[in-house]
Subunit: 441 residues, 4 copies
């Protein structure tokens, strides 16, 4: 609770230019909806038992996002770049659309370039032309999944070459829509930019379908991912229910944290076991998962199991490879569990019909649900407000329901995990009735 964070927001320089209100040329009256730099919100809001005051220091307060009355960049001189990196996530196009429209309509910016295929689009050898963005171009893109800019993994570590390209393109603001690795790359780029004495704002929109970025209450696309995942779980339930001793096994995303698995379990009402990276489990032994699964089958003749891809990695023998984004390659716990369950029931001479479902790309390529679509619009607008005001090296985040500026170095410093003592996990247990502990000691 007394953790010292550093939430101070870097900026390129003093903002001195009056913000234009380009959308109200006809009707001049103005409702004051600017945000001041000293409007803040508390980060940690729990009150210690017995305490009578909530002290805080600069380390505990977050700068609110939103349009500033004074901006740093003259809109007519702005050339903005937008980029999407890493795996697909519902809502990417919504963010691109919002950034483009807010730049264009609210600030009057007319030079907006989409960088193609993530950092690959900034590497000199690829020679990939940028894509001109304007409101007409982005008008309907929220109706399709994926990203119209294309995406790719890796490349972000080649900082100097990338800044060379950014200079060549004459960008003065770069919006990086991506995850952990992307934002690390963006931080290095922003630092190199500073080293070169350039005035280029680097603003991240954090993307993690797994909802595992720190200091970020909710990642965009997450609710859509859960909604899609519930379809897969419904299928597993149907299959399990229609067979003799049917078992539906569903593998969902979640490399380091099991939020999709946990939310899907509660939302679908159909899961009997949820296995996540944060809660280790034994397979064998009297308190292990297989025994518990057998007990469930004996009691109800069917079962649905959700497993997050990062769960139970200790059971797998995997070489420590990494993919192009620098993520450790995981062993496939889904296939492993499928085999172990099948052989276990064979070994005890009990019939069991397992159906394995891996919805994989169906989830991440979905069109954003309205709740995510709204959220993406607001993230994109606030990213533009931040860049125009000369903020840099931050991501736009929602914390305690406020849109705020979080320094990139904070958000990549740790991961968001399910706390097994939290009310979320408690409600997962209520929903599944799985044993609290599936370890033999």
């Amino acid at each position: 609770m007394s953790t010292e964070y550093d939430f101070s927001v870097p900026r390129l320089g003093e903002a001195k230019i009056d913000s234009p209100i380009t959308y109200s040329t006809v009707h001049g009256d103005l409702i004051a909806n600017y945000v001041r730099d000293d409007e803040n919100v508390l980060y940690d809001i729990e009150v210690a038992p017995g305490s009578t005051a909530k002290e805080y220091t600069q380390s505990q307060i977050l700068e609110m996002a939103g349009p500033r009355q004074k901006i740093f960049f003259s809109p007519t001189h702005v050339h903005a770049g937008i980029m999407t990196c890493g795996g697909l996530c519902p809502g990417l196009n919504d963010v691109i659309r919002a950034v483009t429209r807010c730049l264009w309509y609210r600030y009057g910016v007319r030079r907006i370039s989409g960088i193609r295929y993530g950092y690959q689009g900034l590497l000199p050898e690829n020679q990939i032309p940028t894509m001109e963005l304007n409101p007409e171009e982005v008008d309907d893109i929220h109706k399709i999944g994926g990203t119209v800019l294309g995406s790719s993994r890796g490349g972000g570590e080649r900082t100097e070459e990338i800044v060379d390209t950014i200079e060549r393109l004459n960008l003065n603001m770069l919006f990086t829509i991506g995850g952990d690795g992307t934002q690390r790359g963006a931080l290095a780029i922003a630092e190199e930019i500073e080293r070169r004495g350039l005035k280029i704002a680097v603003i991240g929109v954090p993307k993690t379908i797994d909802n595992d970025l720190a200091f970020i209450q909710r990642s965009f696309g997450f609710e859509t991912a859960v909604a899609e995942a519930t379809h897969a779980v419904a299928s597993a339930h149907t299959e399990a229910h229609s067979a003799i001793n049917g078992i539906g096994l569903v593998r969902l995303m979640g490399r380091n944290s099991g939020f999709i698995a946990a939310h899907t379990a509660v939302a679908s009402h159909d899961a009997n076991f949820v296995l996540v990276p944060e809660v280790p489990f034994d397979l064998d032994g009297p308190k292990g998962f297989l025994e518990a699964l057998k007990a469930r089958i004996e009691r109800r003749q069917h079962a649905v199991v959700i497993v997050a891809e990062g769960a139970g990695q200790e059971h797998l023998q995997v070489a420590a490879e990494k993919d192009a984004s620098g993520n450790t390659k995981l062993g496939d716990i889904g296939i492993y569990l499928k085999d172990r369950i099948t052989s276990y029931f064979k070994s005890i001479g009990m019939q069991a019909n397992l159906k394995y479902i891996d919805p994989s790309y169906i989830i991440r390529s979905a069109v954003a649900e309205p709740t995510d679509s709204l959220y993406c619009s607001r993230l994109g607008n606030n990213a533009v407000h931040a860049a125009m005001a000369g903020k840099t090296r931050i991501v736009i985040s929602q914390v305690n329901n406020y849109f705020v500026h979080i320094p990139i170095k904070m958000t990549v410093s740790e991961r968001n995990l399910i706390d097994p003592e939290s009310s979320l996990w408690r409600d997962v247990i209520e929903a599944t009735h799985q044993p609290l502990v599936m370890k033999n000691e």
Copy 2:
């Protein structure tokens, strides 16, 4: 900021019984996931500019919801009643399901009665038998819309007769799932219960599809309502786009506050005007809505208009009637606008093809989306925890993302409204580009 609230939580008496952990009969190890009565969370979390500490008093902190280690009621003696009141709302069955299952599985309660058709089911003359609830009965009810208990308006004002019935049924806890009027009724009932010296917990689960209850961050069913409403807006957009000077006009729910209209506008990306109760507008005159609509049509040849049912009531001549729930009857702004727009364009000799869509009951009768389904489960669980611990006269709410106990008298004391200076309304303006102000002075 210095508002004095009273968030203190009434209770029936001291909780002395050990909470059973009925779901872990096989696996005894226990992760401590109880919540203490003195765990609190701050209500107002904005930090005043220039300030260096956040003072608070009891009036500013909220009691966290969740299971207590000591409970008030002995599960074997509990007879719980569950009731749904007022208009339909997505998620009602999810709440009923969660309350039933949490009582049954976590606490071992075996007498759970569904009160049929809201307060009507407690009025002596109706003689409506209750419905026995158990996990099997509620297993699949979240897959259908509406409420399996039935609902109705009114009746809650007959406090004494209702408490007579409650005594006759020998209930010792009553879960009231309903809105403003329902909770006022529940408060009066709880006070009468206290007057009679009875030990009956009254716990509300606040229901308002419009998201307009105070001290409640998000009402269940709201996200589903917005998702459904986006379909209607998409239709309006399609119609408007396919006709010469097409205008799509959609009427959405929102008697006192325009949250559904506002969220739908941002989420759908298709609306050009959003009219809500909180932001008055003129129809005529150079800065009025009709002139702005004409300008839009001239510029883009089509337009989509969303109007919340409670918007622009000042333009209508309505007798001050009330419905059975005590809500003032509103004039139909949708039909009125439809007529005014049509006659306006006729009067200026400009072709316009208006299509009017009123999705009405299609929205409120929808099955809950996964995000609401999860939320309802968690509300229901926390309602049970509160009742078992002997809390009373409260509703379960989510504030700053924590589940908390809010005294009923606080939640019925005021309404939640859109603040036209908020970031939400700012993002509505970004999304629609409607004039900030549509008043002639």
Copy 3:
């Protein structure tokens, strides 16, 4: 059975040009998939009881649609026009897309003009420019509802002016996607074209969301309309089920025939009464609808009623007005029924809670379901094959599951109606258990 039809197909002249196979430039081997003009299919395929042979004459056989080995038009000289008329219908964009792509890819046609807003786009005073169509332009249009060309009612009766415009545009084929009125207009245009000695093919793609065009087994968009309508009925059912003596009343499209209402009733499994134009009913009296509704309510405490917009018109007092498409304006049976049911139950002192749902434009503006999307593609392809082969004054239809050419004059000669003695209506009765007859004598 011995009806004399005239299914002979007009053509502009002898087809002498070899059909190009533009899609197989790389791989030359060719599977023969051309259709010959003398490949036919029977229209009436029922066998008379006791008979031993099925005689037929030219009047009973239909010419199969499909690509001909010899075509009439040289692709490099073709300028094709595509037009959508009348009310929206799911699948319009799918047809436009298929026509454009088949012309472009299979035949190598490079001049394709979208006529805007139906016949309005061909009237001299409107001066509406055409829209250039090519595969890129139409690539994603099937993902949105409505018609990218725009539509309108009326104008088709100004034959000579329209043919003047067609000549001025130098079109040599015109695809008219529209209903009864549109095809009548198209027929007159084609006749005027012939009178002037021009070689311009006029090919219709019949559109009727109500499925009421004769000699057409299934109209595109119909399945989607039914799917959308089932949502409205599900809402009505939810509302009815959740109220004391709840009645859900849903008004669906169907001016002359009740196919949408009938199919929706069987598909949804939730309707208890279906009122269609083809089956007259009394409201009052011992065998009337109101008495039957009351009996249902007494038996089951809720009811769902579907009414097609053209049903029970004999109960309404309506002036014989016509709209711009020449359709007789109907009285609103939905509102009328709503009022009559409400006052009836009031008159007999029985509580009833009626909820009225009119999904209106939500149904017709929907994106085509896959089954319709496939069907539209195939209609569009066959329309192009017919035009290229020099056929004219026909519509593309599916009969007995074969795609065929039907002369326009046949398809506008009568309407498709529900036969109350058919197996469809029998299955409606099975699904609803409504009385076979609701007439007092």
Copy 4:
């Protein structure tokens, strides 16, 4: 065209009992909607070029399904059994529901037993109790996927034991909802029943999600499967479009025939290649699939490939194993293609990003779309009419849009396949622009 079929319909004996009209007890007037045994429809309806009459013999006409005025069984003595076998298919519960309701409401049958888990439920050693069915029990089952009766593979070959159980249960009609193997089993059972001189009707409702049963125009669940499959293809398209040289590969059901793959390709508009069992292809060589895929990638930078599970089996080395239903086990062409494509692009030094999607059980466990739900209701009703009239050893089918009786021995005699010279395959080629032939000679 002159094929000699044997469509004659077996029956148990003369139908002498008047059919009850149980649903019209209040309103006595009757529209005649019975079907006579000598009402027939032609099977082959194409007219030979140059011919002037359509001759037919008994071998070419089909008996229409529907209620007979005289029935064979006395409803009060009927004990009906319903069974679902084999893999899941959308609509199973709709059929169960229709059979149950039609027996109960139309005929007044009160003893209806659901056989659990297919033929396993009739094997003596399993001792699985039957499930009592009535309208209340089945009221909402169409809202969930799968089968409430459960299903399993195999067991149907143990004819004598099964007939023993049928006798013990005292069934006099058995409805077998299942595929090829199920109906073969049913035929053997019916023959054994005849051998024993029993009067037990055996009526099949043919189930094949692949649409590959002969003499059956459309199998129930097929349209739903296609609709679900289009979601998977949309995901593949999104992934392919968002990556550098992205390739989306989707594996769909279709062991012997590629109807799902073909319909999905046309309906989705997103596929560039469709590989089906009926059209062999080479992988390598100048005209092979891999070369064609490369050409597509070079031209458009992305591609979507659909492969039916039974396609290209000649490329796989598989032992000729069979599963419990007697189906030959197939090699996994999806995984094989994935590997071959990846290694091919690596071998030519061309970047390619392949994403593999196997929606598997998500498709077959879906809830029936309205169009299938309606179809299932009608199949179920007609199955009951047939059984009550004493028909046996038939399946209910739709041919040329008429519901008809087809002898089981005809429907298991051959398979329904895609004809590469058909208009369907032609429209697949139009939709994908894949080479007509991908063989090197």
